[in-house]
């Protein structure tokens, strides 16, 4: 039963990675950029939720919605200010910019409010159920449900709405999409908005689940989520979800085996193995540069 317990914990952690990974994968799919600042959007979301709950007394769901909205705007802002004019420059230049933006957000937040951590207020009732010997708290169950619902909503948006169709078209071939009358700029902004909103939700969920947040909290989950996206095949939406769950479970298992200090290394080892042996990820197709 111990194993079942770990599996459940892994899935909870994995759902957070998956939510963040979705943003990475959507942005990469559409403009081929590793948006390093995505982890910081997650951090901003977490803090928005924190202030909403602790100072304005909002409940979990209003805080979640608010933080998703704030992050959506914030994500679009980052794209418009920093990334938009880099679309025609080299990918390295874009990547360097993304790293710069990521650090800028971290340290501006520290500059404004200091580096000290905050304790996330308890907004959800916390009761534990015993299911087949596995301790399941109502909190983690709710978190899991919220994550899964958001992923289903995303799937609906991407496959059943006009903007979703436009997103798929632009990621397939931006020039052709433009010729077909799709507004590429708006579509890219929409992608950033949706991806960032998911990261914002992940931020609030993370806060409630792990109870401690700080301005540098986005770095490691951001990197892990990126690994999850690569694992599933970057640019592929279901891949990001599966990658997130796999990574969450692997990490929980490594900790459970008594190697908790090696937990982060495990993620990076997975990353390197995947990059070396199957760089297109579990679900990806191989592509080669055109000569």
């Amino acid at each position: 039963m111990e194993w079942l317990q770990q599996l459940f914990n892994g899935i909870s952690l994995g759902s957070i990675y998956a939510l963040i990974a979705l943003g990475y994968t959507m942005v990469y799919g559409i403009i081929k950029l590793i948006n390093f600042a995505h982890g910081e959007v997650f951090m901003i979301g977490s803090f928005t939720g924190f202030y909403a709950i602790a100072f304005w007394g909002l409940g979990f769901f209003p805080a979640l919605i608010l933080s998703m909205a704030v992050c959506a705007v914030f994500g679009v802002l980052i794209e418009r200010v920093a990334y938009k004019r880099l679309r025609d420059s080299t990918r390295i230049a874009a990547l360097i910019t993304a790293i710069g933006v990521s650090l800028l957000i971290q340290y501006v937040v520290i500059y404004i409010r200091g580096a000290q951590p905050e304790a996330y207020p308890n907004v959800l009732p916390n009761r534990s159920f015993d299911v087949f010997g596995v301790q399941i708290s109502s909190q983690s169950l709710l978190i899991l449900v919220v994550s899964v619902v958001l992923m289903i909503v995303l799937q609906f948006i991407v496959h059943r709405t006009k903007i979703g169709k436009a997103m798929r078209a632009v990621s397939y071939d931006p020039d052709a999409a433009k010729l077909m009358g799709i507004n590429v700029n708006n579509t890219i902004s929409a992608t950033f908005a949706i991806g960032s909103a998911l990261a914002g939700a992940a931020g609030v969920i993370f806060g409630v689940y792990y109870t401690k947040i700080d301005p540098l909290m986005g770095v490691i989950p951001g990197l892990k989520a990126f690994i999850a996206a690569v694992l599933g095949g970057i640019g592929i939406i279901p891949g990001a979800v599966i990658g997130g769950f796999v990574l969450g479970i692997v990490e929980t298992v490594v900790s459970a085996l008594g190697f908790s200090l090696w937990r982060d290394a495990a993620a990076f080892i997975i990353l390197i193995l995947i990059l070396i042996f199957r760089p297109s990820g579990i679900f990806g197709k191989n592509s080669k540069e055109k000569v």
Binding site: I34, A82, R85, L86, S89, T90, R91, I92, A93, A94, L95, I96, T97, I99, G100, V101, S102, L103, L104, Q106, Y107, V108, I110, Y111, A115, V219, L223, F226, I227, V230, L261, W262, D264, A265, F268, I269, L271, I272, L275, I276, P279, E289, V291
Partner: protein
């Protein structure tokens, strides 16, 4: 040819005159320990910048894990002096060699990757190196390791000169031209008979070696080293030197290393401000001047027309 060779020796002589003057000032007490320390820091940062310049600027392989090799050099050299009672010079060399070997091990699999994938892989390797040190009790784990102060102006300057001479000589030879051709167009370089993997790995190994040397100097200047000193932020600190200087320009890397070391010395008490300035500089440079301060030009290009020989990639001062 005679004239070109003498330019090289002239530069060496000038460098040693500069060294002698500074050394004299230190001995006479004109330069207090604070200034001496800043000079040593400048040397270390130039070594780091120039070694990464070989990988990113010359060969065009985007590595953001340079701090991993710095960490290896720091820890290995510290083990040599503190645990095995080896002399400092040997410790420095050992740190460089181990870092170079690690560069080989990391480089062979990851340099097959391109662009952003390579960047992420090198970042991952650097993190793994850091986590390994974090988990080894022999070197103090997270608490770190005490190291004696052994780095002097003389050792750091000698290492600096060695680094620059080796990397300039490498760049201005058929090997350097091969590396530049990979940066410019990998497919065409391959089609011209260049073994691209070999040269990418070679540049990476040489760059790692000097990062390891810098690590040894760094460790023996600091009294204590901890895994936390060698995280992603350290890699970023080195990256910004190369990017600001201009990808492909060695003198640009040197100039920005001097500039930013001085700036960060003044901002020592304000680490957040320093990071805001650094990241803002990086973003603004990429948006408005992606070629950096110098582009691919070298400082010698500016006097190249009348007297001096150009040290740009591809022209050799000795040929």
């Amino acid at each position: 040819m005679l004239k070109k060779v003498s330019t090289f020796w002239l530069a060496i002589v000038l460098a040693f005159v500069f060294y002698g003057v500074v050394q004299l000032l230190i001995l006479n007490g004109f330069l207090n320990p604070f200034y001496t320390n800043t000079l040593i820091f400048i040397c270390i940062n130039i070594i780091l910048a120039v070694s990464l310049h070989l990988v990113i600027g010359i060969t065009g392989q985007f590595s953001i894990g340079h701090a991993g090799f710095l960490a290896l050099g720091a820890y290995i050299s510290a083990i040599m002096t503190m645990k095995l009672d080896m002399p400092f010079s040997f410790a420095l060399f050992a740190g460089g060699i181990v870092a170079a070997l690690a560069g080989l091990v990391v480089g062979i699999p990851s340099l097959r990757l391109r662009g952003d994938y390579l960047a992420i892989a090198t970042l991952g390797f650097a993190e793994i190196i850091r986590i390994i040190f974090l988990n080894i009790d022999y070197v103090g784990g997270a608490a770190g390791m005490q190291v004696t102060h052994a780095t002097t102006w003389t050792t750091s300057f000698l290492c600096l000169i060695l680094t620059i001479v080796v990397i300039v000589n490498f760049t201005n030879s058929r090997h350097g031209r091969a590396c530049i051709s990979i940066r410019e167009n990998e497919i065409a370089a391959d089609a011209m008979g260049i073994n691209t993997t070999y040269y990418k790995v070679a540049a990476f190994v040489i760059g790692s070696f000097f990062a390891g040397i810098a690590g040894g100097l760094y460790a023996h200047n600091f009294y204590i080293i901890q895994p936390a000193n060698f995280g992603f932020l350290k890699s970023f600190d080195i990256l910004i030197l190369v990017v600001l200087g201009g990808l492909g320009s060695l003198s640009g890397a040197v100039i920005s290393a001097i500039l930013l070391t001085v700036v960060s010395t003044f901002l020592q008490e304000l680490p957040e401000t320093r990071m805001i300035i650094y990241s803002l500089v990086l973003v603004l440079v990429m948006l408005y001047r992606p070629q950096g301060l110098m582009g691919t030009r070298e400082i010698t290009d500016y006097f190249g027309n009348w007297k001096w020989k150009r040290v740009k990639g591809g022209n050799q001062y000795g040929g």
